[in-house]
């Protein structure tokens, strides 16, 4: 082997971790790393759930089996079906307002393997309760999902996983569009600004979630 080739191997990039395989989210500019934890957070009505449903629709459309652990029992399958989620490819776990059960179920699903996306929805869980999930638990989940083709998503009001998250996506509603006069008025869509932070790179994709 030539000295030039050896020098190439000896470069700092040789020791760095390889770029993860990315899963399209259905929204341009947002791609989720497989084998990593992605946190989607933001206040209520900020478009977090619309983004999550879009990710599930995109993944199930590619024949992947997805799992949604619903800590607050807030998922509406009828809306999800209209948004394009293939429900027969979705495993839905309703943990009935119990974050601990939700965490255990997520762990079991990741250990079971074979899922394209495993989403833990803590979207309505009060922040003090969500903060009680220890960093060790998040680290355990991250370790469990590492080296697998699964995308682990945590959805919450605030970021909780700290350094365990490979990607942070903050959602913020910018505008709400209504149409028509009072008698025939309709909620049309909300415009969402998603701030994505990954490896010190920040991008600001925006999308519109159309009302059904």
């Amino acid at each position: 082997m030539s000295a030039a080739a050896l020098a190439q191997f000896a470069s700092p990039d040789w020791q760095s971790r390889p770029e993860p395989i990315l899963l399209p989210s259905g929204i341009p500019g947002i791609q989720l790393p497989r084998g990593g934890l992605t946190e989607i957070y933001g206040p209520a009505s900020s478009g977090r759930t619309s983004l999550l449903v879009s990710i599930l629709a995109e993944a199930t459309a590619r024949q992947e089996i997805c799992a949604l652990v619903d800590a607050e029992d807030a998922f509406d399958p009828a809306f999800a079906a209209q948004a394009g989620v293939a429900l027969e490819r979705l495993v839905w776990v309703r943990s009935a307002h119990n974050a601990e059960h939700a965490l255990k179920a997520t762990d079991l699903l990741i250990q079971g393997g074979g899922f394209g996306v495993v989403a833990l929805d803590l979207g309505d869980t009060p922040p003090p309760t969500a903060r009680r999930i220890s960093l060790t638990s998040w680290f355990r989940l991250r370790r469990a999902v590492e080296h697998t083709p699964t995308v682990l998503i945590a959805l919450a009001l605030q970021p909780n996983a700290k350094t365990c998250a490979s990607l942070l996506v903050e959602c913020r509603r910018e505008t709400t569009a209504w149409s028509g006069n009072l008698r025939g008025r309709l909620l049309r869509h909300i415009a969402v600004r998603a701030t994505s932070t990954e490896r010190s790179k920040v991008c600001l994709p925006a999308f519109m979630a159309q009302a059904i």
Partner: protein, 416 residues
């Protein structure tokens, strides 16, 4: 002693109730070996009466004939089915005399042979039985001799029994009652391993596990677990049974364990090179069983929408694997996060529309709204529903769905 049942219906099942050696002679004829039944029922007439009684109980109409050899019984059952209902018992040695009036067509000779015999004026059993065997052998050959033997009721042969379907069942009678799951797991492991080994030796798998426990209080505890695909993974079976018993424990100590499986051909499928990986079906079943043990029986699975416009109508089902063809993804849609149950609200109206809303953790002035959207359904049943829906933006910055039903005002969820 042999019996023959001739008629319509599931005669094989009836015959198997009386004898393990059953021959399906034709679609409407079943022959069975009834040797030894005299110890249970007594005389041959009593055996015939017992079979006839059971046939009547099961709603079958058939003619029953008993004879010393199967062919005589078959000829009698077929020949006397029209003449007399009930049963015919042929005493041993009187077969030729008993069968004498029957037509030769019952023996199903070849058309050429039947024509030859008809030319000779031989139309009944008694005519053929009276002919000398040497002359028949010279003129009609071995087939003629066979027909003569049948006509005289002298043909002897063994029945060709229906192969007994392999039964994959095991049971253990316990010496003392078991009231803990741990010792029961040891017994189950023995049964499960034995049955999966038997399945493997025959190249089979199973898609259904059946467990029946007899309890000390004379009750029975039965569980049936269905698998998405046939498998013979003993460890997974055992874990599924353990989890199921932990979720549905027996009401009393166990005195008898019975375990059976449903044999099926194993599923052989090769995944496509570019098809995304999916959870292994039995593994997913096991994972779901573990999750159900944590969150509750009907709180994990795949949602299936019901064929109704009623809001929130769905049921949980086991995930369907392998999954159907590809579906197209949509543009992002505004999702609704439901409050289960909906939160009762106090609403102040302004100009006929909601002006202020207060509910659990929700309080604010209505900034913007759309509605009302009136929906109703099932008015033809006792469980009818109707509601007026509004999409509202509250002063707290959150978009909600609000509805008014005969039961009052409720906040159904928030758009997110």
């Amino acid at each position: 002693m042999f019996a023959c049942l001739h008629g319509a219906g599931n005669l094989t099942a009836l015959a198997l109730e009386f004898s393990p050696t059953v021959e399906q002679t034709a679609a409407d004829t079943v022959a069975l070996d009834v040797s030894g039944l005299d110890r249970l029922f007594g005389l041959p007439q009593d055996i015939a009466a017992a079979i006839a009684r059971r046939a009547a109980e099961t709603g079958l109409s058939c003619h029953i004939a008993l004879a010393a050899n199967p062919d005589a019984a078959i000829c009698a059952a077929r020949g006397f089915a029209r003449a007399r209902l009930g049963s015919s018992v042929i005493p041993q040695g009187d077969e030729a005399k008993f069968l004498a009036p029957l037509p030769l067509t019952l023996l199903a000779p070849t058309p050429e042979l039947l024509e030859t015999l008809a030319c000779w004026g031989i139309r009944r059993f008694q005519d053929l039985a009276a002919l000398p065997p040497l002359g028949i052998a010279e003129r009609l050959g071995p087939e003629g001799l066979r027909l003569r033997e049948l006509a005289r009721g002298e043909a002897t042969r063994k029945l060709l029994p229906i192969p007994d379907p392999p039964r994959f069942e095991e049971e253990i009678e316990l010496e003392y009652p078991i009231d803990l799951l741990e010792p029961l797991a040891f017994l189950l492991a023995r049964l499960v391993n034995g049955l999966t080994t038997r399945l493997a030796t025959r190249g089979l798998a199973t898609d259904e596990l059946r467990l029946r426990l007899k309890l000390e209080n004379r009750g029975t505890h039965q569980r049936t677990l269905r698998l998405p695909v046939p498998s013979r993974d003993a460890k997974a079976f055992l874990k599924l049974l353990e989890l199921d018993l932990a979720t549905h424990p027996p009401a009393a100590p166990i005195v008898h364990v019975w375990f059976g499986v449903n044999p099926r051909k194993p599923q052989a499928a090769q995944a496509g090179l570019y098809v995304p990986t999916a959870p292994e079906p039995v593994g997913l079943e096991l994972t779901l069983a573990r999750i159900k043990a944590i969150v509750g029986e009907d709180r994990a699975g795949s949602p299936r929408l019901l064929d109704t416009h009623r809001p929130g109508a769905f049921r949980m089902e086991p995930p369907a694997l392998p999954v159907p063809a590809i579906a197209a993804a949509h543009a992002p849609r505004l999702a609704l996060r439901l409050f289960r149950p909906p939160r009762p609200a106090r609403v102040s109206l302004a100009g006929g529309h909601p002006g202020f809303v207060a509910a659990q953790s929700i309080r604010g002035k209505v900034i913007d709204l759309a509605g009302p959207w009136r929906t109703s359904g099932d008015w033809w049943t006792a469980d009818s529903w109707s509601r007026d829906e509004w999409d509202i933006a509250l002063s707290d910055g959150i978009l909600y769905r609000l509805y008014c039903s005969p039961a009052g005002w409720f906040v159904e969820g928030s758009y997110d």
